[in-house]
């Protein structure tokens, strides 16, 4: 214990810092100990309340996190006992009380505690929950955002978000979704689900799916923080690939909108505005995601058992990060190594044979070999039908037709894209392209 007699302001600031930095760690352990999200959240609040009451008198404990876990656990036991006394004792409550481990002995299990944040991540991103619920739960439980903040970020009514989170927690409890780091055999498939959630959050912040603002920087920053956390807890290649990808995309933020909020596409961006520090960090992670050497970071107890498959193969995030790295290293669109980019898309298309990957590959081929080479590839992708309602597919065809001087075809495709785009800056960009088209 440190000396009592801290100024009230100092103490309040210390508690606030602790809450920001460690409250999710405390929550993650409380969920394991109490076996229930709602009970753990209540206990977390009570623990911090107890800290504010007791620390001015007793001093700040040397290890605040275990203190908070312990305080939260005792508060939860109290609450359960109180409730049990008033209500008819039901079996679940009695079992819960008995199941709560006793005393500080648990603190010997350092590995258990170290893995709690990872358990929380895998539970929030369990594939039996809908993608929307995984995202909402991740931002609520791991990032600690309020329901209102999440609702604002996703332009959804708070009641809808609240309902989504309540239902997800009910499913975790009633269907008994385990609070566990998946076994080695399942790890890479389950990690995919975690990384997908983080990338969804990133993209929602990077290019809001609707509305007037092109980007919402705080969501992207949170996604990068989450990616960093996963890499730290579980240094798998694909996690590093996602961290690299998000950093490299984020590095272009200042360059991708003009002074009036208008969209500036990659080839027209002022590359001196790209964030050098984020590029450097992104490039370092790409190298590690692609590199032959095993990860250097010490794995956690669970990470040690990480799947060998994920370690030896290069995944879609690492490849997309590698593509972003080629752009990051080029002085201009013309000076870009398009052959390298096409090659990377070839590998990505084998791994992930989706129409969006085929579309991006076609655009890269048009840059490498000229628009005449790219057009038939884009026509094939569009003929496949899955991207008929994807505005970027029509915008890509329009650009290639424009470069070929096929203005009528370009006009038809820009109009189609404009009809489908929902985001104001993108619509303005497409409208401008349409205006600039020679008759």
């Amino acid at each position: 214990m440190s000396e009592p007699g801290h100024g009230a302001d100092d103490l309040a600031a210390t508690v606030a810092t602790l809450f920001r930095r460690d409250s999710r760690k405390v929550l993650a352990t409380l969920i394991r100990l109490l076996g229930d999200f709602d009970l753990a959240e209540e206990a977390l609040q009570d623990a911090f309340k107890a800290a504010v009451e007791q620390w001015p008198r007793d001093g700040i404990p040397a290890n605040p996190v275990p203190w908070l876990v312990s305080a939260g656990r005792f508060k939860a036991i109290d609450a359960i006992r109180r409730r049990a006394r008033f209500d008819a004792i039901d079996g679940d409550v009695a079992t819960a009380v008995e199941a709560i481990p006793d005393g500080a002995a648990r603190w010997d299990e350092r590995e258990e505690i170290a893995d709690d944040p990872l358990r929380l991540i895998f539970t929030c991103c369990h594939p039996s929950l809908s993608a929307d619920a995984q995202v909402a739960l991740t931002l609520r439980e791991i990032s600690g955002l309020t329901t209102e903040e999440i609702a604002r970020a996703f332009l959804a009514p708070p009641a809808t978000l609240a309902q989504r989170i309540v239902r997800a927690k009910a499913k975790i409890r009633d269907a008994r979704i385990p609070y566990r780091v998946p076994a080695a055999a399942e790890l890479s498939a389950r990690l995919e689900s975690v990384l997908r959630v983080i990338y969804l959050v990133f993209n929602e912040g990077y290019s809001a799916s609707a509305g007037a603002e092109l980007t919402r920087a705080d969501l992207s920053a949170e996604a990068i923080r989450l990616a960093r956390l996963v890499v730290e807890l579980l240094p798998e290649r694909e996690a590093m690939g996602l961290l690299a990808l998000t950093l490299l995309q984020e590095s272009r933020r200042a360059a991708r909108t003009g002074p009036n909020g208008e969209l500036i596409v990659l080839e027209a961006q002022d590359r001196s505005l790209w964030n050098r520090a984020q590029i450097d960090e992104g490039l370092a992670w790409v190298e590690r995601a692609l590199g032959a050497a095993p990860p250097v970071t010490a794995p956690t107890a669970a990470g040690a058992a990480a799947s060998p498959r994920a370690r030896v193969s290069v995944g879609p995030y690492a490849l997309q990060a590698a593509i972003a790295a080629v752009h990051a290293g080029a002085a201009s669109a013309e000076a870009t190594d398009w052959a390298e980019i096409v090659g990377l898309y070839d590998v990505l298309a084998r791994l992930q044979p989706t129409p969006v990957v085929a579309l991006n590959r076609a655009v890269a081929v048009a840059m490498r070999d000229g628009p005449a080479a790219g057009l038939p590839l884009i026509e094939t992708v569009l003929a496949d039908g899955q991207l008929q309602d994807y505005h970027l597919a029509h915008a890509a065809r329009a650009d290639i037709c424009r470069r070929l001087g096929r203005n009528a075809d370009a006009r038809a495709s820009y109009q189609r894209a404009l009809g489908l785009a929902r985001q104001e800056p993108e619509r303005a960009y497409l409208a401008a392209r349409l205006r600039d088209l020679p008759p």
Binding site: G91, A133, A170, K171, D174, I177, P178
Partner: protein
């Protein structure tokens, strides 16, 4: 001959009949020696629907939604958690052609 009796209720009527009444009824039916298995279920939003195509397992949140598919059979598993239930359910052969909905069983509350 064995008969499977399926119970349907609208979401807001799930608790229209008290648990204690359901328990008493099932005890009487059991006493007649006719019940093989009877369980209440958690609501549909706790369900997970599994499909296996080309050897790959996919799962979606919620009950099966394919109106063309009809109920063709059932398994009642005793599993430690949802992950184990999913591993077991993925071994039911029709999961490759149709889908298998995994729904947790709800313990009836004698005081409810």
């Amino acid at each position: 001959m064995k008969y499977l009796c399926l119970v349907y209720l609208e979401d807001d009527k799930l608790h229209a009949v008290r648990d204690s009444e359901c328990l008493a009824a099932s005890e009487r039916l059991r006493a007649d020696g006719r019940v093989i298995a009877a369980e209440a279920l958690h609501p549909a939003h706790t369900a997970t629907t599994l499909r296996v195509r080309d050897g790959a397992l996919t799962m979606t949140d919620g009950p099966f939604a394919e109106t063309k598919e009809q109920l063709a059979g059932f398994y009642l598993f005793d599993a430690a958690d949802l992950d184990e239930a999913i591993r077991l359910a993925a071994r039911i052969p029709p999961v490759r052609a149709g889908s298998v909905e995994v729904r947790p069983v709800r313990e009836l509350d004698p005081g409810g």
